[in-house]
Amino acid sequence: MTIQHYIFLAVALFSIGVIGVLTRRNIIIIFMCIELMLNAVNLLLVAFSKMHSLAATAADAASKAGTEGQIFVFFIMVVAAAEVSVGLAIIVMMYRNTHSVDVNFLNRLKH
């Protein structure tokens, strides 16, 4: 598989995420779409990193180049997990207050 395949997949996932965020009103769906965008970027990071690594080891078998991106992704996933817990907590609080998960009910924040 060439790098293009990964790029197309990542762009498709990201676009789905963006459209989902823009069009849906259910905050849980929006939240999932945000995660989708995040993971599209993660995927791209891993893909580029792997390609980089393959090219480097082909030139020099001992090279460790290209491994950083893959490790980096683990960090992103850990941080994303923490972020998800905060986001879910907000959603729970929102449901308790509005008895709804519809973001349009949140417009009362302006007053």
């Binding site: 963006v18 965020v21 823009l22 009103r25 929006i30 349009n104 949140l106 009362r108 924040l109 302006k110």
Partner: protein
């Protein structure tokens, strides 16, 4: 002896601190003893110093490093040489007599105000001593500012009177204009000579060309300072108004000492001036113009102190004429004799005012001769001395200046003699109107007329004696003397004398000059006495006299040319620039932010979807932009 030098200014400072801090608990007797005693102590030390200097021991004493930064080093040092020792004697000597006189003159004041008066007076003497003892221009400047402050405080001593406070402010502000010039000159000296110490500055200036731009600039700026402090055109109008202060203050500050600070400063810097003949010309012309202008004004004044004030301005003009034509010794000589006879005249006027219960208008006096015998005789001596009749002191000093003026330019001499004749005339107009003829005051005043107490008459007598004999220290060669003062001061002016082309008048010319000026003055005296003793001019002046009485309308001119436009400009700046411009800009920024916020607030709809859409659009736009912008 150098360890005594610091004592001279220290005594008055102590007096100031005691009288100033303990003014609420000191009795008048204590205040008098402390206030006068410290000056007497300074006087004694000054005599010791003078005797040392006379033996040729001029000293410079450095007390501590005052300013030491980079290459510039200004020590806090005192210089006692021939010139400053003469001034020390005059300041502390005349100062002590006036302190003594004040103890009686100011007796009506309450204890605290009495002590406040003596505190100011002590502080003044302290500042004046700093001025003349300073070993560099900066110490001189500190004293210069100090005497200005004390002058302000003492003119406005009766501060409850609004006119008096205004006179004090006027004096202070006009002095500030001059001080500004002085300060600029100091900066220029630091920049050019890298020092403010007299010896170093003069040594470095000595090799410069005649009329070097820097020298002319510095000397002109210094002279601007002198015009403020010594009341010369164009800054002279504060001095007559300064008569609002108590009369002994007028005698000490506005006649004998402070106003001669400018002459001291120029005499001290004589090398710089000799090297800048352009400035010398300006000094001579300004001095002469002031002498003649003030003399004309004095002809028609009816306030006893105002006549003396204009006479002071006029005499200061003569001193500047002397400096301008290079007769430095003559100018210092005139400072000395003038200090004696003008202090005498002012104190005599104070005695008259005291006896007349604060009446100052000479039209309401007359015939005081028999009521105030001591005051009368001493005042008469003062008048003869200032009129320049030999052998009183004024003759010798004035003649020396006029002779030098004649050598420089005959026109100077002619105008100078004209001024001297006017001096004789207005002084004897004052004398005749006050002391001769019939008493014109109220019966009550006549009933209370009395000679002043001994504390006031003794200073008068001593000053009268000095006014008579002071001239003998400077008898010129033409009259068979050896001019001891000139020999004494020679080291100070040696550099200038070397540069000046020597011009000696032959004796015949000098006799003619003396005869002409003395004869004209004598005629003026006879005319004034015969005219005003019988029939003083009590009517309001008209025509040209009115112009003179109103002081050539110079105050009104300044008001119209400087004060009014300044007020107008201030009003414009306040109403237009400040209120419309600056306030408008400040308020405008506030309003703009307020308006913008009101409009931008509409974007905050609260719809999460719209926020997200905006965010995506913005991210997309940034993405596009970064494609094109590298």
């Amino acid at each position: 002896m150098s360890n005594l030098v610091y004592l001279v200014p220290l005594f008055p400072l102590i007096g100031f601190l005691i009288n100033g801090l303990a003014r609420n608990s000191l009795s008048k007797g204590m205040t008098s003893v402390i206030g006068s005693g410290v000056i007497l102590a300074s006087f004694v030390v000054s005599i010791l110093l003078f005797l040392q200097v006379k033996e040729g021991n001029a000293v410079t004493v450095t007390l501590f490093d005052f300013i030491n930064t980079g290459k510039l080093s200004i020590p806090f040092s005192f210089q006692v040489d021939q010139l400053s020792s003469i001034f020390l004697l005059v300041i502390t000597g005349v100062g002590f007599l006036i302190h003594l006189y004040s103890t009686a003159y100011m007796h009506e004041e309450s204890n605290a105000h009495f002590a406040r008066y003596f505190a100011y007076l002590n502080l003044f003497v302290f500042s004046m001593l700093l001025l003349v003892m300073g070993g560099n221009y900066l110490i001189m400047f500190i004293g210069w500012e100090g005497v200005g402050l004390c002058s302000y405080l003492l003119i406005g001593y009766w501060f409850k009177n609004n006119d008096y406070s205004n006179a004090a402010k006027k004096a202070f502000i006009m002095n500030r204009i001059g001080d500004f010039g002085f300060l600029l000159a100091l900066f220029w000296m630091i920049q050019h000579f890298g020092s403010l110490t007299f010896g170093e500055v003069f040594a470095r200036a000595d090799g410069m060309n005649m009329n070097d731009t820097v020298l002319v600039g510095i000397t002109l700026l210094l002279f601007l300072g002198a015009t403020g402090k010594s009341a010369q055109i164009p800054l002279y109008t504060w001095l007559p108004d300064a008569m609002a202060g108590p009369t002994p203050v007028s005698a000490l500050i506005h006649a004998a000492t402070m106003v001669t600070a400018g002459i001291y400063m120029i005499a001290r810097s004589n090398i710089l001036y000799t090297l800048a003949p352009v400035t010398q010309g300006v000094v001579a012309v300004i001095g002469l113009a002031t002498a003649i202008l003030a003399a004309t004004i004095a002809l028609k004044q009816n306030d006893i102190k105002k006549v003396l004030a204009y006479s002071t301005v006029s005499q200061l003009g003569y001193m500047f004429l002397g400096l301008g034509v290079g007769a430095y010794t003559g100018a210092v000589f005139h400072v000395m004799t003038h200090a004696f006879f003008k202090a005498l005249l002012f104190l005599g006027a104070g005695s008259v005012i005291h006896a007349m219960h604060h009446e100052q208008d000479i039209r309401n006096m007359g015939g005081l001769k028999k009521h105030l015998p001591v005051t009368h005789w001493t005042f008469l001596i003062g008048c003869i001395a200032i009129a320049g009749i030999p052998p009183l002191s004024g003759f010798f000093s004035k003649d020396e200046i006029l002779a030098a003026a004649f050598s420089a330019n005959v026109v100077y001499w002619v105008i100078g003699v004209l001024g001297a004749v006017m001096t004789a005339f207005y002084m004897f107009r004052l004398y005749a109107t006050t002391f001769l003829g019939k008493f014109r005051g109220t019966h009550e005043q006549e009933h209370h007329l009395h000679e002043s107490p001994a504390a006031m008459t003794w200073p008068l007598i001593i000053l009268a004696v000095l006014s008579v004999v002071a001239g003998f220290v400077g008898i010129p060669a033409v009259l068979g003397g050896s001019h001891e003062l000139q020999q004494f001061l020679a080291p100070v002016f040696a550099g200038s004398v070397k540069l000046q082309e020597a011009h000696h008048l032959d004796h015949a010319t000098e006799y003619i000059l003396m005869g002409a000026s003395v004869g004209a003055a004598a005629l003026a005296i006879l005319y004034a006495v015969s005219r005003f003793s019988k029939k003083p001019d009590l009517e309001e002046a008209s025509g040209f006299g009115k112009l003179l009485q109103n002081k050539w309308y110079v105050d009104e001119l300044y008001d119209a040319v400087i004060v009014k436009p300044l007020r107008g400009m201030s009003a414009f700046l306040n109403n237009v620039v400040e209120k419309l411009g600056i306030d408008g800009a400040v308020n405008g920024v506030g309003k703009l932010v307020h308006y913008g916020a009101r409009q931008l607030r509409l974007l905050q709809s609260g719809q999460v979807g719209i926020y997200l859409l905006m965010m995506v659009i913005a991210a997309f736009v940034l993405f596009i932009i970064q494609l094109f912008v590298k």
